[in-house]
């Protein structure tokens, strides 16, 4: 049922190896890298938003009247 | 209704006349681009004659595009645009007026200048005539489609480059049929088919694009 006689036949692709594997290779690379980047983007985003949230909470607890707290809030905003 | 379009056009023309340097620099850009090509390609006249339709059309297209960011920018900065958007008249017609004015100060002079530049490429008088006619028909479409890009990028950083990125792919049909008309004439075939399709594109560009532009302007001013 399998079309190929040997693995080296399969790699050679009847002389078209470079073109076939060049196509499949780049496609595979993109389809691996794209999801990884998308997942990483969400992970770093979650970490960043969490940090921001914690900073906001701590400024809240310490009371909003003090000036230094206002500056902390500003810092988190500029780091967005 | 037409009176209102004419009023907007007249106003924009008056403003453009106060800044003739802008008009002149667009024309010079066209002249320089068209003159650079023979220097880059070489002086063989057969080759130049073959390349002329494409080179002149691409030059005119780039020159039109250069003048696009100015289309709404000044009115945006001094708040006039906001007034025009809030005005009771349909915004699409206002845009149509501005597009016509833009064509009168960019497309029309480019079309009239093109035959002179065509002489540099040793085009026949038939081809020169078709070149002028195709630019006269095609450049309104360029102004109309370009207005959409200008409105979408209004007030954004890097607006000028962004406009070209958005607008150039949409210009391709106009380029194909415009340069194709001249090409067909050079090859001894009739240019009528090309010119009529170009006319259809121009009608589409001038009468439908202003409504998309109006929607884009409303978004930009929100």
């Amino acid at each position: 049922m399998i079309h190929w006689n040997s693995f080296s036949d399969f790699l050679a692709m009847g002389g078209y190896g470079l073109y076939v594997w060049g196509s499949f290779g780049v496609t595979a690379l993109i389809m691996i890298v794209e999801p990884i980047m998308a997942i990483r983007r969400r992970k770093t985003l979650v970490l960043r938003l969490k940090r921001q949230l914690r900073a906001e909470k701590s400024t809240h607890k310490a009371g909003s009247t003090s000036r230094s707290n206002g500056e902390v809030g500003k810092e988190t905003r500029s780091s967005q | 209704m037409m009176g209102m379009v004419a009023a907007i056009t007249a106003r924009d023309l008056k403003l453009a006349m106060r800044r003739q340097a802008d008009i002149v620099s667009v024309l010079f850009f066209f002249i320089i681009v068209a003159s650079l090509f023979p220097l880059g390609i070489g002086p063989e006249q057969d080759l130049l004659r073959k390349l002329a339709p494409g080179v002149l059309w691409v030059g005119a297209l780039l020159a039109t595009m250069l003048s696009l960011p100015k289309l709404f920018a000044d009115d945006f900065r001094d708040g006039t645009l906001e007034q025009l958007v809030l005005a009771p008249q349909p915004l699409g017609l206002t845009v149509l007026g501005k597009v016509l004015a833009h064509w009168l100060v960019s497309g029309l002079p480019l079309a009239l200048l093109a035959p002179v530049l065509g002489l540099q490429f040793d085009l026949s008088s038939d081809a020169l005539l078709v070149l002028t006619v195709s630019l006269l028909i095609g450049t309104p479409a360029l102004s109309g489609i370009g207005a959409i890009g200008a409105a979408l990028t209004l007030g954004l950083r890097g607006g000028g480059v962004l406009v070209s990125l958005l607008v150039l792919p949409l210009y391709i049909p106009v380029l194909i049929f415009g340069a194709g008309a001249v090409d067909a004439t050079v090859a001894g075939l009739g240019a009528e088919a090309h010119l009529s399709i170009l006319g259809a594109l121009a009608i589409g560009g001038v009468f439908f694009a202003p409504w998309a532009t109006a929607a884009a302007l409303r978004i930009a001013l929100e």
Binding site: H3, S23, M31 | I148, L170, P173, I219
Partner: protein, 250 residues
């Protein structure tokens, strides 16, 4: 009827779509892998040699799915864009922006594999064929969309401006395709016609369909991942995002 309508709109808010998307992603990923393995098995291992193109034709198993997806994603993007403009829903714009990078990559893959296919078959990496040229222009349209959205800071404006651009693009794609086609027939000679495709064996067709399904599922999965990031980013000041963050990675 009324009930169903409400249920449907329930998922149109980022708040309820976010967890739903999270649940859907593993399924679509699994489907993409299953269809991909099946398609690759049929296409690369079982399918016979093409009598005209030898083994080189096997590029078709990724080239055609990538081309289909690049066009289909643009249509879906324009659909979300139109929906967003008409009903002013937050989710539509997010979906459109989430789809664009995948669409652009599919267009790139289509061009890349097309070039690698063209070289051994016609002896050239690139021909100015109507389909190739239109695909290139489609890539430009995607890049324009992404660049426009990237340069607008206000996400609401970015959504709407992108929507107008996507709709203008969708109106233009057929015009561009037919003008390039006309242009191409006028400049015969150097061009190679791609339209007379070799009659395909049933097995090859199955391989291609399975691969297309795999690409489809992949695109859905990866754009849902991206959409989830966009939802969190845009709605970061709302309560539901705070709840999500609290539940995330304890």
């Amino acid at each position: 009827m009324n009930n169903r309508l409400i249920n449907w709109f329930k998922y149109a808010s980022p708040q309820s779509f976010y967890p739903l998307a999270g649940k859907m992603i593993p399924w679509f990923t699994a489907l993409a892998v299953i269809f991909g393995i099946a398609g690759l098995w049929i296409g690369m291992a079982v399918a016979p040699t093409d009598f005209q193109q030898g083994e080189g034709y096997r590029i078709i198993f990724i080239h055609v799915p990538a081309s289909w997806m690049s066009m289909f994603i643009y249509l879906v993007m324009a659909f979300w864009a139109a929906l967003g403009l008409a009903y002013n829903t937050r989710l539509s714009g997010m979906m459109a922006s989430a789809l664009a990078p995948t669409g652009a990559l599919m267009a790139f893959l289509s061009l890349w594999t097309g070039a690698l296919w063209g070289k051994p078959m016609w002896g050239t990496w690139w021909v100015w064929d109507a389909r190739l040229t239109s695909e290139l222009i489609l890539l430009f349209l995607y890049i324009g969309f992404i660049a426009l959205q990237a340069s607008i800071d206000d996400p609401r404006r970015a959504d709407k401006a992108g929507a107008i651009l996507a709709l203008v693009g969708v109106v233009n794609i057929p015009i561009i395709y037919f003008s390039v086609k006309w242009w191409n027939t006028l400049h015969q000679g150097s061009s190679v016609s791609l339209t007379k495709s070799p009659s395909m064996a049933m097995l090859m067709l199955w391989g291609m369909l399975l691969m297309a399904l795999s690409f489809w599922m992949y695109s859905i999965a990866v754009s849902l991942i991206r959409a989830r990031s966009i939802m969190l980013e845009r709605e970061r000041n709302t309560e539901w995002v705070k709840d999500v963050l609290a539940g995330e990675g304890k």
